[in-house]
Amino acid sequence: MEAESGPVSVPSRGRQSFRLNSTMDSVGEVEAAADQLATEAGLDEDQRFHVAMAVREAAVNAILHGNEYDPARKIHVSLENTGKDLVFTIADEGRGFDPEKLPDPLAEENLLRGTGRGIFLIRSLMDEVHFRHLNPGTELTLVKHLPPVPQKYLGS
Protein backbone atom coordinates (compact mmCIF):
# COMPACT_ATOMS: atom_id res chain seq x y z
CA MET A 1 0.00 0.00 0.00
CA GLU A 2 1.35 3.40 -0.96
CA ALA A 3 1.53 6.38 1.34
CA GLU A 4 -0.06 9.59 0.10
CA SER A 5 2.10 12.51 -1.04
CA GLY A 6 4.08 14.01 1.77
CA PRO A 7 7.55 14.21 3.24
CA VAL A 8 9.53 11.07 2.52
CA SER A 9 11.10 9.32 5.51
CA VAL A 10 12.98 6.11 5.09
CA PRO A 11 13.77 3.30 7.50
CA SER A 12 17.13 1.60 7.13
CA ARG A 13 15.49 -1.73 6.24
CA GLY A 14 12.24 -2.72 4.60
CA ARG A 15 10.52 -1.40 1.52
CA GLN A 16 8.75 1.93 1.53
CA SER A 17 6.56 3.21 -1.29
CA PHE A 18 5.45 6.74 -2.00
CA ARG A 19 3.14 8.48 -4.41
CA LEU A 20 4.31 12.00 -5.13
CA ASN A 21 3.20 15.00 -7.15
CA SER A 22 4.88 15.82 -10.45
CA THR A 23 6.86 18.78 -9.11
CA MET A 24 10.50 19.63 -8.59
CA ASP A 25 9.87 19.51 -4.84
CA SER A 26 9.24 15.79 -5.24
CA VAL A 27 12.61 15.43 -6.99
CA GLY A 28 14.33 16.98 -3.99
CA GLU A 29 12.46 14.70 -1.59
CA VAL A 30 13.30 11.55 -3.53
CA GLU A 31 16.95 12.58 -3.87
CA ALA A 32 17.20 13.26 -0.12
CA ALA A 33 15.54 9.93 0.71
CA ALA A 34 17.94 8.05 -1.58
CA ASP A 35 20.90 9.82 0.00
CA GLN A 36 19.62 8.94 3.47
CA LEU A 37 19.17 5.27 2.58
CA ALA A 38 22.66 5.16 1.04
CA THR A 39 24.16 6.88 4.08
CA GLU A 40 22.45 4.48 6.50
CA ALA A 41 23.70 1.58 4.39
CA GLY A 42 27.25 2.77 5.03
CA LEU A 43 28.20 3.63 1.44
CA ASP A 44 31.18 5.93 1.00
CA GLU A 45 30.78 9.50 -0.24
CA ASP A 46 31.35 8.67 -3.92
CA GLN A 47 28.82 5.83 -3.87
CA ARG A 48 26.27 7.92 -2.00
CA PHE A 49 26.66 10.64 -4.63
CA HIS A 50 26.20 8.10 -7.41
CA VAL A 51 23.04 6.66 -5.85
CA ALA A 52 21.48 10.04 -5.06
CA MET A 53 22.31 11.41 -8.49
CA ALA A 54 20.96 8.38 -10.39
CA VAL A 55 17.73 8.40 -8.39
CA ARG A 56 17.41 12.15 -8.90
CA GLU A 57 17.87 11.77 -12.67
CA ALA A 58 15.21 9.04 -12.74
CA ALA A 59 12.79 11.24 -10.79
CA VAL A 60 13.47 14.20 -13.10
CA ASN A 61 12.82 12.01 -16.14
CA ALA A 62 9.58 10.70 -14.64
CA ILE A 63 8.28 14.16 -13.83
CA LEU A 64 9.62 16.14 -16.78
CA HIS A 65 9.51 13.69 -19.69
CA GLY A 66 7.04 11.11 -18.34
CA ASN A 67 4.35 13.09 -16.57
CA GLU A 68 5.25 16.42 -18.20
CA TYR A 69 4.53 18.21 -14.90
CA ASP A 70 0.85 17.19 -15.24
CA PRO A 71 -0.70 17.67 -11.77
CA ALA A 72 -3.13 14.84 -12.51
CA ARG A 73 -0.26 12.37 -12.91
CA LYS A 74 1.79 11.10 -9.99
CA ILE A 75 5.18 9.47 -9.66
CA HIS A 76 5.47 6.24 -7.70
CA VAL A 77 8.70 5.68 -5.83
CA SER A 78 9.93 2.83 -3.70
CA LEU A 79 13.16 2.48 -1.74
CA GLU A 80 14.52 -0.64 -0.15
CA ASN A 81 17.66 -1.89 1.54
CA THR A 82 17.52 -5.66 1.06
CA GLY A 83 20.74 -6.20 2.99
CA LYS A 84 22.52 -7.07 -0.26
CA ASP A 85 21.36 -4.21 -2.45
CA LEU A 86 19.77 -0.81 -2.42
CA VAL A 87 16.78 -1.04 -4.76
CA PHE A 88 14.86 1.95 -6.04
CA THR A 89 11.87 1.99 -8.35
CA ILE A 90 10.62 5.19 -9.98
CA ALA A 91 7.50 5.02 -12.13
CA ASP A 92 5.59 7.66 -14.05
CA GLU A 93 2.19 7.72 -15.72
CA GLY A 94 3.39 9.11 -19.05
CA ARG A 95 3.42 7.85 -22.62
CA GLY A 96 6.48 5.69 -22.17
CA PHE A 97 9.65 5.47 -24.24
CA ASP A 98 12.04 2.92 -25.67
CA PRO A 99 15.39 3.19 -23.85
CA GLU A 100 17.12 1.31 -26.67
CA LYS A 101 16.25 4.09 -29.11
CA LEU A 102 17.90 6.88 -27.16
CA PRO A 103 20.84 8.52 -28.96
CA ASP A 104 24.29 7.70 -27.57
CA PRO A 105 25.43 10.87 -25.75
CA LEU A 106 29.08 9.82 -26.16
CA ALA A 107 28.86 9.71 -29.97
CA GLU A 108 30.84 12.48 -31.61
CA GLU A 109 27.73 13.97 -33.24
CA ASN A 110 25.88 14.12 -29.90
CA LEU A 111 28.66 15.37 -27.66
CA LEU A 112 27.62 19.01 -27.93
CA ARG A 113 23.92 18.40 -27.38
CA GLY A 114 22.42 20.17 -24.39
CA THR A 115 20.24 17.21 -23.38
CA GLY A 116 20.14 13.42 -23.51
CA ARG A 117 22.57 12.40 -20.75
CA GLY A 118 20.14 11.40 -17.97
CA ILE A 119 19.61 7.71 -18.76
CA PHE A 120 23.29 7.33 -19.67
CA LEU A 121 24.28 8.69 -16.25
CA ILE A 122 21.78 6.44 -14.46
CA ARG A 123 23.21 3.40 -16.23
CA SER A 124 26.78 4.50 -15.53
CA LEU A 125 26.27 5.25 -11.85
CA MET A 126 24.20 2.21 -10.80
CA ASP A 127 25.06 -1.51 -10.91
CA GLU A 128 21.78 -2.55 -12.54
CA VAL A 129 19.05 -0.62 -14.34
CA HIS A 130 15.83 -2.24 -15.55
CA PHE A 131 13.02 -0.69 -17.57
CA ARG A 132 9.43 -1.89 -17.49
CA HIS A 133 6.59 -0.62 -19.65
CA LEU A 134 3.46 0.13 -17.69
CA ASN A 135 0.07 1.03 -19.00
CA PRO A 136 0.47 3.94 -18.92
CA GLY A 137 4.00 4.90 -18.00
CA THR A 138 7.48 3.57 -17.45
CA GLU A 139 9.07 2.07 -14.36
CA LEU A 140 12.81 2.18 -13.75
CA THR A 141 14.41 -0.12 -11.21
CA LEU A 142 17.83 1.02 -10.04
CA VAL A 143 20.08 -1.32 -8.07
CA LYS A 144 23.28 -0.58 -6.18
CA HIS A 145 25.06 -3.62 -4.75
CA LEU A 146 26.16 -3.21 -1.16
CA PRO A 147 29.69 -4.25 -0.25
CA PRO A 148 29.73 -7.65 1.46
CA VAL A 149 29.86 -7.53 5.24
CA PRO A 150 33.21 -8.95 6.41
CA GLN A 151 32.81 -12.41 7.98
CA LYS A 152 34.18 -11.25 11.34
CA TYR A 153 31.22 -8.89 11.76
CA LEU A 154 28.63 -11.60 11.14
CA GLY A 155 27.00 -13.26 14.14
CA SER A 156 27.65 -16.96 14.67
Partner: protein
Protein backbone atom coordinates in the same frame (compact mmCIF):
# COMPACT_ATOMS: atom_id res chain seq x y z
CA UNK B 1 21.66 25.64 -2.02
CA UNK B 2 20.90 27.31 -5.31
CA UNK B 3 23.55 28.69 -7.62
CA UNK B 4 25.29 32.00 -6.79
CA UNK B 5 27.18 33.75 -9.58
CA UNK B 6 29.72 36.53 -9.00
CA UNK B 7 31.41 38.28 -11.93
CA UNK B 8 34.85 39.89 -12.04
CA UNK B 9 37.25 41.15 -14.71
CA UNK B 10 40.84 40.04 -14.94
CA UNK B 11 43.11 41.10 -17.84
CA UNK B 12 40.21 41.34 -20.26
CA UNK B 13 38.71 38.05 -19.16
CA UNK B 14 35.36 37.85 -17.40
CA UNK B 15 35.57 35.34 -14.60
CA UNK B 16 32.27 33.97 -13.31
CA UNK B 17 32.69 32.48 -9.85
CA UNK B 18 29.95 29.88 -9.50
CA UNK B 19 28.95 28.55 -6.13
CA UNK B 20 26.29 25.98 -5.25
CA UNK B 21 24.33 23.57 -7.42
CA UNK B 22 23.85 23.61 -11.19
CA UNK B 23 20.72 21.52 -11.61
CA UNK B 24 17.36 21.61 -13.31
CA UNK B 25 15.40 24.34 -11.57
CA UNK B 26 18.21 25.41 -9.26
CA UNK B 27 20.99 26.87 -11.34
CA UNK B 28 20.72 25.99 -15.01
CA UNK B 29 18.63 29.01 -15.91
CA UNK B 30 20.81 31.47 -13.94
CA UNK B 31 23.90 30.17 -15.71
CA UNK B 32 22.24 30.42 -19.12
CA UNK B 33 21.12 33.99 -18.45
CA UNK B 34 24.54 35.02 -17.16
CA UNK B 35 26.29 33.68 -20.27
CA UNK B 36 23.78 35.30 -22.61
CA UNK B 37 24.19 38.64 -20.83
CA UNK B 38 27.97 38.53 -21.18
CA UNK B 39 27.82 37.67 -24.86
CA UNK B 40 25.18 40.34 -25.52
CA UNK B 41 27.56 42.86 -23.94
CA UNK B 42 30.29 41.77 -26.35
CA UNK B 43 32.44 39.94 -23.82
CA UNK B 44 34.39 37.36 -25.78
CA UNK B 45 36.61 35.80 -23.09
CA UNK B 46 34.76 33.92 -20.40
CA UNK B 47 36.18 31.76 -17.63
CA UNK B 48 33.81 29.73 -15.45
CA UNK B 49 35.28 29.05 -12.01
CA UNK B 50 33.55 25.86 -10.82
CA UNK B 51 35.65 25.45 -7.66
CA UNK B 52 32.65 25.98 -5.39
CA UNK B 53 30.13 24.00 -7.41
CA UNK B 54 29.09 21.22 -5.06
CA UNK B 55 26.74 19.38 -7.40
CA UNK B 56 25.78 19.24 -11.04
CA UNK B 57 23.15 17.06 -12.74
CA UNK B 58 22.58 16.11 -16.38
CA UNK B 59 20.70 19.37 -16.91
CA UNK B 60 23.65 21.32 -15.49
CA UNK B 61 26.09 19.41 -17.69
CA UNK B 62 23.86 20.26 -20.65
CA UNK B 63 23.89 23.89 -19.63
CA UNK B 64 27.71 23.93 -19.55
CA UNK B 65 27.74 22.49 -23.08
CA UNK B 66 25.15 25.02 -24.24
CA UNK B 67 27.20 27.84 -22.71
CA UNK B 68 30.24 26.57 -24.61
CA UNK B 69 28.42 26.32 -27.95
CA UNK B 70 26.59 29.64 -27.48
CA UNK B 71 29.91 31.35 -26.83
CA UNK B 72 31.62 29.64 -29.74
CA UNK B 73 28.81 30.46 -32.17
CA UNK B 74 29.14 34.14 -31.22
CA UNK B 75 32.88 34.19 -31.68
CA UNK B 76 33.56 34.08 -27.93
CA UNK B 77 35.66 31.60 -25.95
CA UNK B 78 34.54 29.86 -22.79
CA UNK B 79 36.88 27.86 -20.57
CA UNK B 80 36.57 26.10 -17.22
CA UNK B 81 38.56 26.58 -14.03
CA UNK B 82 38.94 24.43 -10.88
CA UNK B 83 36.69 21.42 -11.12
CA UNK B 84 35.58 19.67 -7.95
CA UNK B 85 36.07 15.90 -7.97
CA UNK B 86 32.37 15.28 -8.59
CA UNK B 87 32.23 17.63 -11.57
CA UNK B 88 35.55 16.33 -12.89
CA UNK B 89 34.35 12.72 -12.73
CA UNK B 90 31.08 13.55 -14.49
CA UNK B 91 32.84 15.45 -17.26
CA UNK B 92 35.10 12.44 -17.80
CA UNK B 93 32.21 9.98 -17.76
CA UNK B 94 30.29 12.00 -20.35
CA UNK B 95 33.42 12.69 -22.47
CA UNK B 96 32.83 16.42 -22.02
CA UNK B 97 36.34 16.62 -20.64
CA UNK B 98 37.45 16.46 -24.26
CA UNK B 99 35.25 19.39 -25.26
CA UNK B 100 36.36 22.03 -22.77
CA UNK B 101 39.69 23.66 -22.07
CA UNK B 102 40.06 23.10 -18.33
CA UNK B 103 42.52 24.68 -15.90
CA UNK B 104 43.41 24.11 -12.24
CA UNK B 105 45.23 27.41 -11.91
CA UNK B 106 43.66 30.81 -12.51
CA UNK B 107 46.82 32.55 -13.73
CA UNK B 108 47.38 29.85 -16.36
CA UNK B 109 43.76 30.08 -17.42
CA UNK B 110 43.89 33.86 -17.82
CA UNK B 111 47.21 33.64 -19.71
CA UNK B 112 45.71 31.09 -22.12
CA UNK B 113 43.30 33.69 -23.51
CA UNK B 114 46.16 35.90 -24.80
Amino acid sequence: MALAIASRELDGVTVLDLSGRITLGEGSVQLRDAIRDLIAKGQSRILLDLGEVSYIDSSGLGELVSAYTTAKNQGATLKLLKLTKKVHDLLQLTKLYTVFEIFDDEASAIASFK
